[in-house]
Amino acid sequence: MTSASDNIISVRGLTTEFHGGRGDVRVLDNVSFDVGRGKIVGLVGESGSGKSMTALSLMGLVPQPQGQVTAQSILLDGKDISKLGAAEMRGIRGRDIAMVFQEPMTSLNPVRKVWEQVGEPLAIHKGLGRKAIRARVLEMFEMVGIPEPETRLDAYPHQLSGGLRQRAMIAMGLICEPKLLIADEPTTALDVTTQAQILQLMREMRDRVGTSIIMITHDLGIIAEMCDQVNVMYAGQMVEQADVFQLFENPSHPYTRGLLASIPRATEPPASRRMPSIPGMVPNLAKLPQGCRFSPRCAEVMPICRQTAPQLAGVGDGHAARCWLHTPQSALPQEETP
């Protein structure tokens, strides 16, 4: 394992709960992961897996007071930010950790010029004046490949295409040179050719600025193209963590294996008319099954899986999975007799 100082962020025991009329729902359960300096780390999972909630929890953006975020620690460049108050988090958001959202149209204010919005973090965190901000935004627009950057400064969001809006959002995310950029499905709303351009841009930015990136996506193709490390989430938990090559070549959790089998591939003819698929659906977080959360859908389920929840445990070099398959039969907990 890497030492703490190699990680730009080190999350331990992140748990997020919502308290509502229908009781408490734990949407994130004891989530831990690291992001190495200058690395792109993927969070992958289906809807409701908790990947976006992880981002919002790290950013201090979980709605209050219904949402409650706790963590053993969240070390950002060695400093624990898990106990900071709202005001202190405001000093970190946009400066040390920035975020790019899925839908650039709804995350930009439609009645303000693009340059004012992209430059806003500079006004908040660096106290720069309008002239200096405008000059810096122009530089950023050039860097993220916005054509005719000077004329785009005074555009309103609706005057830009989806691809240009997402470039502007990335410019805004990077304008304070943050330590960590969290990109939540940054290309999901874009066409595939535009997506390829934006992914290319994010790789270049990582190489040039050295920003570490958390890439949140449901698309295993994007994970394979972009990430160094991968975290697979299911029903609010980490179920597998591995180096990207390990994950694709030696997936250790049946959920990961099922996902990899059920994606259609453009690069090879289909193996059969019907596709392998994972039966059933993601469980309701308010009514989780006993034992392993994936057990009702798992092709390799064993009696123990329906009784006792497995822990995330190492299965090899930097590779961990939350699955009883990797525990030798003799070491399995004794089954309770009903």
Binding site: V192, T193, A196, R274
Partner: protein, 332 residues
């Protein structure tokens, strides 16, 4: 009942000839010049019995409009549509209503396409009743049968749409489309909003239903991986035009149009060993359909464009079952 000319059995289920849909926008009481959006601009194609014909293209290329105009859910500006030899444009409103039994559509958004205030039974019974399926008891029986067919339990008939997940709702949308035993089904991005594990389930369901019910699918999507898994033939659309048509295997093995090739190379591959591959990126942005480039519509983004491409608009030329609209197709 209004007499409806009987459709004939034939190899081609639905065909279009020079189908065009133009929208006029701009001129309003606020002023402004009227402009024309050529959403669908002269599309001719044949869809054969029991095949899955996929229509791929990026947002704004006109694929959804084409699907809707084909079924006369929107009236075309010009051109012809034939369904099993019947001229659809010539059919009266009433005759069209009768034909709609056979021509169905499954929409993209399973949240928006089901009425939240209707129980599943009412949602499924509505098309049956409007086509005079039978007695209330027969309709009830058919609703139960439909749910069973799409893999949902009959007890769900009394539930409302919000009680279902996205995948289940899409199954209900499929059941509704199949209620009156259609022949031709347009699937407009029908699996795009679903998670991967659910997407595979719904694609398998569509495959099974096609086999059981001899359905023909017109499958509109932006996802090339789904096309390769699911379609027999593919049409690639760019700015209102078909630029390439062929069998799935031909097109994926050797795309002829530069746009098809660039579209394919842009798809992220779920294999980290391939991340270093050559990736020709398409430059710039899609031109506006209101302000089309001269000559070939793709020349402003095409890495292989030459002088003739800027002036002459290439026609879709057929050669041995494949067709391409390019002055310099990639195999030559």
């Amino acid at each position: 009942m209004i007499p409806v000319a009987e459709p004939v059995a034939s190899d081609v289920v639905l065909s279009t000839c020079n189908l065009t849909k133009h929208y006029r926008i701009g001129a309003s009481h606020f002023g402004g010049a009227q402009r024309i959006v050529r959403a669908v601009d002269g599309v001719s194609l044949d869809i054969r019995a029991r095949e899955t014909f996929a229509l791929v293209g990026e947002s704004g290329c006109g694929k959804t409009t084409l699907g809707r105009v084909m079924l006369r859910l929107q009236e075309p500006t010009s051109g012809e549509i034939h369904y099993r030899g019947l001229d659809l444009i010539g059919q009266s409103e009433a005759q069209m209503r009768g034909l709609r039994k056979k021509l169905q559509i499954v929409f993209q958004d399973p949240y928006a396409s089901l009425n939240p205030r209707m129980r599943i039974e009412e949602i499924l019974a509505e098309p049956l009743r409007s086509h005079g399926f039978g007695s209330p008891a027969e309709i009830r029986e058919r609703c139960a049968e439909l749910l069973d067919m799409v893999g949902l339990r009959q007890q769900y008939l009394r539930n409302y749409p919000h009680q279902f997940s996205g995948g289940q709702r899409q199954r209900i949308g499929i059941a509704r489309a199949l209620a009156n035993k259609p022949d031709f089904v347009v699937c407009d991005e029908s699996v795009s909003a679903l998670d991967v594990s659910i997407q595979a389930q719904v694609l398998n369901l569509l495959t099974d239903l096609q086999d059981q019910l001899s359905l023909t699918y017109f499958f509109i999507t932006h996802d090339l991986a789904v096309v390769r898994q699911f379609a027999n033939r593919v049409g690639v659309m760019f700015l209102g035009r078909l630029v390439e048509v062929g069998t799935t295997e031909e097109i994926f093995a050797q795309p002829l149009h530069p746009y098809t090739m660039l579209l394919m190379s842009a798809v992220p591959r779920p294999d980290p060993r391939q991340r270093g591959r050559e990736r020709p990126l398409m430059q710039g942005e899609i031109p506006s359909p209101m302000n089309l480039p001269s000559g070939c519509r793709f020349h402003t983004r095409c890495p292989f464009a030459r002088d003739i491409c800027k002036t002459d608009d290439p026609a879709l030329q057929e050669q041995g079952g494949r067709a391409v609209a390019c002055h310099f197709p990639l195999d030559s």
